[in-house]
Symmetry: D2
Subunit: 269 residues, 4 copies
Amino acid sequence: MNKLKNLRNCRPNFKIGSKELGTGLFIIAGPCAVESREQIMESAKIISEAGADMLRGGAFKPRTSIHSFQGLGEKGLKFLKEAGLKYGLPVVSEITSAEQIKTAEKYLDAFQIGARNVQNYELLKAVGKSKKPVLFKNGLGTTTEEWLNAAEYIASGGNHKIILVQRGIRTFEDSTRFTLDISSVPVIKSRVNLPVFIDPSHAAGSSKLVPPLAIAGIAAGADGILVEVHPSPEKAMSDQKQQLNGREFTLLAEKLRKTHKFIEAYKLH
Amino acid sequence: MNKLKNLRNCRPNFKIGSKELGTGLFIIAGPCAVESREQIMESAKIISEAGADMLRGGAFKPRTSIHSFQGLGEKGLKFLKEAGLKYGLPVVSEITSAEQIKTAEKYLDAFQIGARNVQNYELLKAVGKSKKPVLFKNGLGTTTEEWLNAAEYIASGGNHKIILVQRGIRTFEDSTRFTLDISSVPVIKSRVNLPVFIDPSHAAGSSKLVPPLAIAGIAAGADGILVEVHPSPEKAMSDQKQQLNGREFTLLAEKLRKTHKFIEAYKLH
Amino acid sequence: MNKLKNLRNCRPNFKIGSKELGTGLFIIAGPCAVESREQIMESAKIISEAGADMLRGGAFKPRTSIHSFQGLGEKGLKFLKEAGLKYGLPVVSEITSAEQIKTAEKYLDAFQIGARNVQNYELLKAVGKSKKPVLFKNGLGTTTEEWLNAAEYIASGGNHKIILVQRGIRTFEDSTRFTLDISSVPVIKSRVNLPVFIDPSHAAGSSKLVPPLAIAGIAAGADGILVEVHPSPEKAMSDQKQQLNGREFTLLAEKLRKTHKFIEAYKLH
Amino acid sequence: MNKLKNLRNCRPNFKIGSKELGTGLFIIAGPCAVESREQIMESAKIISEAGADMLRGGAFKPRTSIHSFQGLGEKGLKFLKEAGLKYGLPVVSEITSAEQIKTAEKYLDAFQIGARNVQNYELLKAVGKSKKPVLFKNGLGTTTEEWLNAAEYIASGGNHKIILVQRGIRTFEDSTRFTLDISSVPVIKSRVNLPVFIDPSHAAGSSKLVPPLAIAGIAAGADGILVEVHPSPEKAMSDQKQQLNGREFTLLAEKLRKTHKFIEAYKLH
């Protein structure tokens, strides 16, 4: 039996809102969490001017502690959509349960499934029935094989618009928050024909390490990047250390586009 | 802020169905999955005669591959309840989404939340509002600190009947399926006053290693054990290698009770 | 080809100095490092009165930083031997290169090879030619299979007096210094017939966790224990947090002997 | 106290034999082991024609099993030197004990210290007294911090010609032999001013994954690469799966030089 038979029907080119995936480097950026209307508007402006393709921002935040900021919920999604419309950017946000889908579909162009829910099969089956693209992150303790098998849960429902996002795995190494497993990019590409992105922000845990990891990821063959950008990272309500400010992101986006063009031009992969 | 403030209100003594936790070693046993009425009846008979306190059996099976046997669903819960009633054993089974709670409550004396859903916070909040005890396993890639914080999600809903079950973590070591982190037993007990069980079956991945790990866990201070027992392990539809047969379990249960009595008698902890 | 053919000739019963291994629980104790004549004398007195079988103390200390205390060298071995003679205890200390063997043999009843040198094959071959027993610890990042293969390097030289000491592996879990892989005890015993000890001090990294881990290790079938004891742990020049004081060790030794007798009496393994 | 004070005196530009480090991408290539005069001659020819800067080949092979091929020893070094002389390439080979230094110095332009000896401090101190450059690999289970502290052992002896080579760490992920920790490149560069190379061959464990990992490593800021090349990988006496053949290497070397030039031209780091 072919365990990934539905995943093998997925293709790397599809539309997310007004944008086309697979025609060049695809950059998704935005703050860890939608904190206010003003903050997400400013974020959208920054990333739009820097040439990003899509806006991200957490509204239903899965936090390690129930006593930490849990996100603005539907209000956050509303702000996100408003910001996306104003700046011509499709928007994506994380959902954490099947019940949120109906509400979230009204605002979002794509769903994100985070590391904690990588094997939340009921949620995967539910987004598998939706028509919206899914950004699907690996779990901190799941193997690439398990991750692909989890993605098959989505594909089996009929939703073939899946982006796999490598966001680091948990190892003993403590100089970074997680260990970005860049080898998963070519490993996955040798198995299935899906778009693979990297998320250097969560892996690094430090804004200074984001550029080299992002460049390395694109050089390894990643199709896009998911990066955290905040107008004022030092004031962020979560993940302060790893979010880029506007200037840093603008510089990085430029470098990434150059890198992607270089890789494509020389057909390095 | 005390991040575990609700978990700290939990106590290690409470009832599960007709059985009392905290009055001696508590043994939960049964097959990986409920496969048929006959199989779960025979399992219940075996473990009841061996002196187990509770029957387990999976009905909603979270499987790595969507193409593997997914469990009998509600029919499995029905068989499980019937077996429990016949042999005077309370029953527990895993649930994987909040929507299953209403159905599952009709059949179960306790819910199990498995490794894959350790940070499925919507599910944790949902069982937090139930009155049924929760067996809560650690994730393969979650730290003890994150696990306790996840348990706080349950306790914050008002459900203080929580059993933490250590089932192994993922490491590079490959001589066992996972690495049973026995140190988590004393570590947790130094933080909160909850019952801590161990699951040697999933950690070991091999029935021969189950007895020494189980005995070590009880010796480390665990309050109980969750162990997989199948009338004919070689015919099991999942986890064949790690399930004990009736004779092996009867022998182990006897050893574990002796070990627990010994530990208690000499107040070794 | 049988990759462990020489290791399979090893036996669990042999003499170390005046003591006989394999006739009951074997306890090796002493400070992390020999710091002074007075300190090791006091340590020997404490552990002797508590019934330990052997004295340990580091003289050639392998330290992560070259700028940390490196041990007293040969002078430390001299003090160690003197303390052992006075209290009737054989002595063991770590060696870190083949060149130290000739000197060390004059003072020691057994050599210890530490985690950092688990695959220092030249050192292993060198102690393989010695007649002194070898306490051989696993590496933080080596599998059980690699550890056994490394022990085969010792056995292949003709030295069959090998004690394997499980001292924890490196994982993502951060509530303990390392993760004591207790399952390695039964795993090794299913492969070869060697004495297996555990070192709860280095694994736990905290003196409070040493007793439950030590008891669990013996309950899992370990033949002995290697534990750090210091007359005044708070004044120790290294590993302050994990060393037991005299009172704590005396209490633990008593508990461990009881546990070992209990396990033997009921033939739990 | 500055724990890395001597390492901080190291510089990234120095000569290895006739070649200058720090003036462009530096490529070290060659077979896992020197197997015969003919094989190393052919290897040298291949890599020389492809523009490599240095020839590698193991003579004292540290093998997991003592019963595996252990290398040709001094004879291997002799063949290696001969091949290097003929093709104008400096040569490097692994040494595994201080005693080998005197012999090895006659043949080698640089020493390699492998993963297993990353904390073999006596060996590190010994090469610290040599004048030959040292290629120093991380251990499978050592943190970046420990690796740097180990390198300080070399620098403290007065040898400041150190190249750090990232060769993967051990994690639970099993789709690659090890997990190449590419983030260690920027992490190290933020701490000390040493050349950092990557070894994609050992990390990947598969020749197909070598090119994307190598390109990613250079893109992340690595100064050079250590890669396994064999005239006929399928006939190699060790590591068959991960060695490139001549054609594959020639293609890769070209891609890597382009990538390095691109990174330099745009000052991406």
